[in-house]
Symmetry: C2
Subunit: 418 residues, 2 copies
């Protein structure tokens, strides 16, 4: 993860307790971002005294946020320092992605590592929201049990959903057929029924493309050794086409929390009706159903269908290639609009677009080259990328919880400790 180390200055008019709380986070984030550090190294980095840092580190050790790993010799004069790392047991994040044809649950530790991952295929279209959320809670409870065996303690759950989410409610998820579903409350209820000891677990919810984009931002460089990009358009190709915008390292949420809906940009105003109520949206040309149908496959075949499409494309079968080329062209046109508007560093293809990129990209790249007005898009310039292997909405959701912990560890100290 590459969180920004804020300056050591506390917020204005801070009292002593809130200054300490702020500095606990500062020290924890510094160790997190450096991977490992000594007390002296942290002190030098954050501009606090060595004594102050030692006291903060002691509290973070006691409360289980940091752990000590032997001695290091700096090569400089002075005593060797003890190496500090973020704890690999203790506080963790629980991420639950509820998508149209699967549920994925993941538990991430403070270092950002995916420690538990459970994925179940299921068709959630048209199912009652409570049923789906109960099922998701059941999978989550299994993940938590497995995390507990690894001495991890999920401190909050974050849900990822393919729709417009605000205030704990799915305002609308057309492909699930959900409207105004209070997902946070329903999931918390379901989980506490299954595991009463989790009655107090805070639950929050966000759009799945937003969380996948954050996972990309936080993990892509470390995992895949790529050039980091701080500004990008992120696209997920599942049954729906979701999107998210990351600008200067920040997710753009918009005035109401609904930014990034690239799947509903117009390809053809008179095109086929879309689940959103309009016509000719990108999703009707590049969503899974459209892709599979154009390739002569069963449009409801889901992930198995995408795998078959990929196999046919790899085998050079013309109808598959043509379907992907045509979808790539439409994708490229819509993306050229997003690039002309936002001038990002990169466009990142996630979800099933990731696997299909070799066949989507050439036509998309050609459209981008023809239409990006700055002239700064050239074929194969590396700005149209597949998402990293490890970033997905479930991990992004779990990592989001971890980042909340890093931002204010005192709020997540284990009850009874300290």
């Amino acid at each position: 993860m590459n969180s920004n180390n804020a300056s050591p200055a506390p917020p204005a008019k801070a009292d002593k307790a809130s200054v300490r709380r702020h500095n606990l986070s500062l020290v924890l984030r510094t160790v997190h971002d450096e991977g490992e550090a000594t007390r002296a190294g942290v002190a030098a980095r954050v501009g606090l005294t060595r004594a102050a840092v030692s006291s903060l580190v002691d509290q973070l050790l006691t409360e289980g946020f940091l752990s000590e790993w032997g001695k290091t010799f700096s090569g400089q004069a002075g005593r060797p320092g003890t190496v500090l790392k973020v704890a690999r047991s203790g506080p963790a994040g629980l991420g639950v992605e509820i998508n149209i044809d699967y549920v994925a649950v993941c538990v991430v530790d403070l270092a950002g590592t995916d420690r538990v991952r459970l994925v179940e295929r299921m068709d959630n279209r048209g199912a009652a929201p409570a049923t789906v959320l109960n099922q998701a809670a059941r999978i989550a409870a299994r993940a938590v049990a497995s995390a507990t065996e690894q001495e991890l303690r999920p401190v909050a759950a974050e849900l990822a959903l393919p729709g417009l989410v605000s205030g704990g409610t799915v305002r609308q998820a057309p492909n699930l057929g959900w409207n105004r579903v209070p997902v946070e409350g329903l999931f918390a209820q379901a989980l506490s029924t299954l595991r009463p000891e989790h009655r107090a677990l805070p639950v929050s919810a966000d759009n799945e493309a937003n969380l996948a984009a954050m996972a990309e931002l936080w993990f892509a460089t470390a995992d895949d050794d790529r050039t980091p990009v701080n500004s990008f358009v992120y696209l997920t190709g599942e049954i729906g086409v979701g999107g998210a915008l990351v600008l200067n390292g920040q997710l753009l949420r918009g005035a109401h929390g609904f930014a990034g809906e690239i799947g509903h940009l117009v390809v053809d105003p008179d095109g086929p009706p879309c689940s959103c109520g309009a016509r000719g949206c990108l999703e009707q040309y590049a969503g899974q159903a459209a892709l599979l149908r154009a390739a002569g496959l069963d449009e409801k075949a889901g992930a198995a269908g995408v795998a078959e499409l990929e196999a046919r494309a790899r085998a050079g079968r013309p109808r598959a290639l043509q379907a992907l080329e045509e979808a790539g062209r439409r994708l490229g046109r819509v993306l050229s609009g997003a690039v002309n508007l936002l001038d990002p560093d990169a466009v990142i293809l996630g979800g099933s677009f990731r696997e299909l990129k070799p066949w989507l990209a050439p036509a998309a790249d050609a459209e981008l080259t023809a239409r990006v007005v700055s002239g700064l898009w050239t074929p194969g310039n590396g700005r149209l990328r597949a998402s990293s292997s490890s970033g997905d909405a479930a991990r992004g959701a779990a990592a989001h919880v971890v980042r909340e912990v890093l931002a204010d560890p005192a709020a997540y100290a284990e009850p009874g400790k300290d």
Copy 2:
């Protein structure tokens, strides 16, 4: 103007001189943002001692950034305070908009008031850049002379141009026919030839839609008593269709400085060729030439043509109404994409779209209502606005200079003074 008052904390590792420099700006911006203030009021607001504020105010008075305006009685105990305002003479900003069929120059004082304005119609298409910039410098020199009579002292010039601008160069301005024109250098040269005393005047350049959007952000609320909007898509309809994005009160520049090019979003991939090299861009449907042509007017008639179109629409002439309705529909489709991507508070129509809004808006609003996926766009909800009467690129450019002065007055103190 509604600049943010930064916290009084100076940047890390500041020495005494840079702390004072920072605090000079803090005091000046506080008086600017409040409109008027006493020394005691400033001290309370910024969290510095009264003595420190008095010393800073004295310097700002001596150097001509502030002026004193009699006494105020606060109603509280203690001596009456002297009212401080930003100076209405002295440092000022010079803004020069070079557009396709006119040049507009304006001088803005520290309070943001437009004190000099000169506009000349001229056809700059295909003219040699040096000729156009010489002509603009001649108008600017007249504006400076007029500002000098009002005891204003322009401290820098900002150019506004209809094209992609970076590093002092117009990379490309298709409607002017300019490519890689070093506008900052050419303008500075032309101005210093006309007025050798301005040889040292700093010159910078930006995209005209960016500067018009900033003028909208800075002036619309104060001038037109509107609900302030902090996140908006700004469109200028001139010969080209320019755009800019303001998100959370900040202009989005993009990774290379070329964000906001909404005029080149695709309406129809097989549509008419555009000056940018692609086909079917919005500009080919909603730019002045397209509008005039569709209404049966001379497509090269420029501002006079737009006035005639407006008169015909007002008179209810069917061809004019139909042309505007059709353009409004295309505008609405493209804007729905921008709104689905960015979820702004508002979309603001500037340039000639401002006058034509009554006839463009109904069809655009209908498309937005049908296509904005959040369901939060409803007809006539006030989110599709005409730009304010006083925001334009020339004023935005001049005000940009003023904001640089407010951010670091010490850098603009008159040589010889202090």
